[in-house]
């Protein structure tokens, strides 16, 4: 078996240890004998190279870097990513990328910045006096996702995945958040998790992240996947399923250390 992972803008959108997500996806495939290649897709890379990837990742950025990415993503890579997400290709968008796949980002001063419109959400920055949302975070996956996601396609629920792929009963996700923008979800997308500790999407509605088809958006870095290995496996599982047209069971790995690191945040 083979998987090809697209890593979008590794030199521009990789600020908060985002590379960790790629390392974890790659290693967890390799440990299971799945041949894996991470393709670095940046400004100069033709968009067609994206199209034969099986899994997409895009991470956080500083403002200047995000501006540099802006036009390329909106005009060239974004539409391709949108098609792929619609087809069920699994994806992970973290921090700036999470904001970027929404409809728009409104800074506290100046014009709205258009997003790629892949996710039904928007982000607003309430002003430079508003507190940045910073700190260790814990959230619980929303298990009621199951039927809704399933009716939308062939996706399995996160709740089910969380308990079926790990010997644990809880389905918490842990990470670190650091964002000024507040993200609000529209009716066509579901929240990923319920915040237990921290702020999440906007610090108001108690939700964190978003899930649409097989694509996840989240403010959690830390990075997200190392300490939440079952989410990594869910993405890998989905990628294989879409590519080979059938559910492929993943060999279990020894995740003792992963869960020790996870539990140290709870």
């Amino acid at each position: 078996m083979k998987l090809s992972i697209a890593w979008l803008y590794p030199d521009l959108m990789s600020t908060y240890g985002d590379r960790g997500n790629i390392i974890v996806l790659t290693r967890r495939c390799q440990w299971r004998g799945i041949e894996t290649r991470a393709t670095q897709v940046t400004l100069e890379t033709p968009a067609r190279e994206l199209a034969h990837c099986d899994l997409i990742f895009m991470g956080g950025a500083q403002d200047r870097q995000q501006k540099l990415v802006g036009e390329d993503f909106l005009k060239r890579k974004g539409p391709v990513v949108k098609d792929m997400v619609e087809k069920g290709i699994p994806a992970l968008f973290v921090c700036a990328a999470y904001q970027f796949v929404g409809h728009y980002y409104k800074p506290y001063r100046g014009e709205k910045i258009a997003g790629a419109g892949i996710f039904d959400l928007y982000t607003e920055h309430p002003g430079d006096q508003a507190k940045r949302m910073i700190g260790n975070v814990v959230a619980e996956l929303i298990s009621s996702l199951s039927s809704r996601v399933r009716s939308d396609g062939d996706a399995i629920s996160f709740g089910e995945i969380a308990s079926s792929m790990t010997p644990r009963n809880d389905n918490t996700i842990v990470g670190f958040e650091n964002h000024g923008g507040r993200t609000y979800l529209g009716p066509k997308i579901k929240p990923l998790a319920k915040v237990i500790k921290g702020f999440g999407n906007n610090g108001e509605d108690g939700h964190e992240g978003a899930v649409y088809k097989n694509a996840i958006g989240s403010y959690f870095h830390g990075p997200l996947l190392p300490k939440n290995p079952y989410i990594a496996d869910w993405l890998i599982g989905k990628a294989l399923e879409v590519k080979y047209g059938k559910e492929i069971p993943l060999a279990e790995l020894d995740d003792t250390l992963e869960w020790q690191a996870h539990d140290s945040i709870l």
Partner: protein
């Protein structure tokens, strides 16, 4: 009166905290004095007979400032210096209080201060306030501002590298004296860091400067890296936004850079070759910066060389205690550089310590930007610290076996020489265990 009261209180606190050996003794006296007199720093600054040297940047501040102090003192000059690494305004004021008499008089030639990235604009603003005094007192006083580098570091505390650069750039015009007769500022900047060099160039065109910025940098293609580090922060042109090209990179985004689009390029260094008293490429840069400062104030090359021969590393920076060598490693670029250096020194035993307290930054995501994969299989690796599981997990995914110690004292109990790479608060803990309570 206000000054005297502030000094008096500061000195009392300094005395008490030293007697009781409180760890925070390096900042409390300054903090108390600042509460009474917020502009106390400018009262001190105008008293230095020769001038003030500020050292700013993400990595290398302590070592560079310490080298400058060593060179100056070897020439018989007296120096006030925030040696304990307390580099916020309160730490700088504390250092001055420590040297001042009970009337607030400082008897010293130079102030050599390392300054925290976020505090540089505040400190510069204080210097401007006292600038008016120079007009009547002395015209030969120098201000030297050394810009070492900017790397990602504690994003939850400092914010992004670009934000810091913007704050600095906004702070520099405040230095304009408006009086062409007095041009006391001299920038000394790293030519090989595109962001810092850009700041130097921008500052050079300002009126009121003594001269254009002076640059240090390396011309040594033998030391170019073959594979580019993952932790690079500034590889896009500040001028036009184009991707920078490099004749070669030394580490992170440090190298001989140029922009193919707008033709902006790395400035030609004024000093590029000097033997470093400490191992590590990053110390080569620290040495070049210190040497350029010394040359700028007229110290001969021969005397600089002589004074650096016996240079002893600053605390926690390649410091040797018992069988341990401590290499402070607090951000991806610093960690990569420390790792590379200890491996070049032939280290077979490493202890990595990761804390997530305020001085370390609460976010430990950055360990995934460190290239731990460079550690060879025959090196034994111990891990410890508040976030020991995060660190062990990172190393697991780098394919490196570790021994995990929840207790730092146990981790430090080993025979034979070993190398400790700790974050800031972890470094203080390691020293405390190895040495006893006192910071210096």
């Amino acid at each position: 009166m206000c000054l005297n009261l502030a000094i008096f209180l500061g000195k009392i606190i300094s005395f008490i905290s030293k007697r009781l050996s409180f760890g925070a003794g390096a900042t409390w006296p300054g903090e108390a004095a600042l509460r009474i007199n917020p502009h106390i720093l400018s009262s001190f600054a105008s008293q230095f007979r020769k001038g003030i040297i500020l050292v700013a940047g993400t990595n290398g501040k302590t070592t560079t400032a310490s080298m400058i102090k060593t060179i100056l003192e070897a020439q018989g000059l007296s120096v006030v210096h925030n040696a304990s690494g307390a580099n916020l305004t309160n730490g700088i004021v504390s250092a001055c209080i420590g040297q001042a008499n009970w009337l607030g008089k400082i008897d010293a030639d130079w102030g050599v201060f390392e300054v925290d990235e976020n505090s540089l604009p505040i400190v510069l603003a204080e210097l401007k306030i006292q600038n008016s005094k120079f007009k009547t007192t002395t015209k030969n006083l120098k201000f030297i501002i050394v810009l070492l580098n900017l790397f990602r570091d504690q994003l939850d505390r400092y914010g992004e590298v670009d934000v810091i650069a913007q704050k600095w750039q906004r702070a520099f015009p405040r230095l304009d004296t408006g009086n062409q007769a007095i041009k006391p500022y001299q920038f000394i900047a790293n030519a090989d860091d595109p962001l810092v060099a850009h700041l130097g160039e921008a500052a050079s065109s300002r009126p009121g400067l003594e001269a254009r910025a002076l640059y240090f940098g390396l011309n040594d293609p033998k030391r170019f890296v073959k594979a580019v580090d993952h932790a690079t922060d500034s590889i896009f042109c500040l001028n036009c936004g184009g991707r920078l090209s490099y004749e070669g990179m030394y580490y992170s985004h440090i190298g001989i850079w140029y922009c193919t689009k707008c033709k902006e390029k790395r400035p030609i260094p004024d000093v590029s070759d000097w033997k470093s008293p400490l191992p590590g490429l990053y110390n080569q840069y620290n040495t070049l910066a210190a040497v350029l400062v010394a040359q700028t104030i007229g110290i001969s090359d021969k005397k600089i060389t002589e004074s650096l021969v016996s240079f002893a590393p600053a605390f926690g920076r390649q410091e040797h205690i018992g069988n341990a060598y401590i290499f402070l490693s607090k951000n991806p670029t610093g960690f990569n550089q420390s790792l590379r250096t200890v491996l070049e020194l032939g280290s077979k035993k490493l202890l990595l310590v990761l804390n997530d307290r305020i001085p370390d930054g609460r976010d430990v995501s950055w360990i995934w930007d460190v290239d731990f994969e460079m550690i060879p299989k025959d090196v034994s690796v111990r891990v410890s610290g508040d976030r020991v599981y995060d660190l062990a997990l990172r190393l697991k995914y780098a394919g490196i076996k570790t021994t995990l110690y929840e207790n730092l004292e146990d981790a430090l109990a080993t025979t034979g020489s070993f190398y400790v790479l700790p974050t800031y608060s972890a470094m203080l803990e390691v020293r405390k265990i190895l040495k006893g309570k006192k910071i210096l």
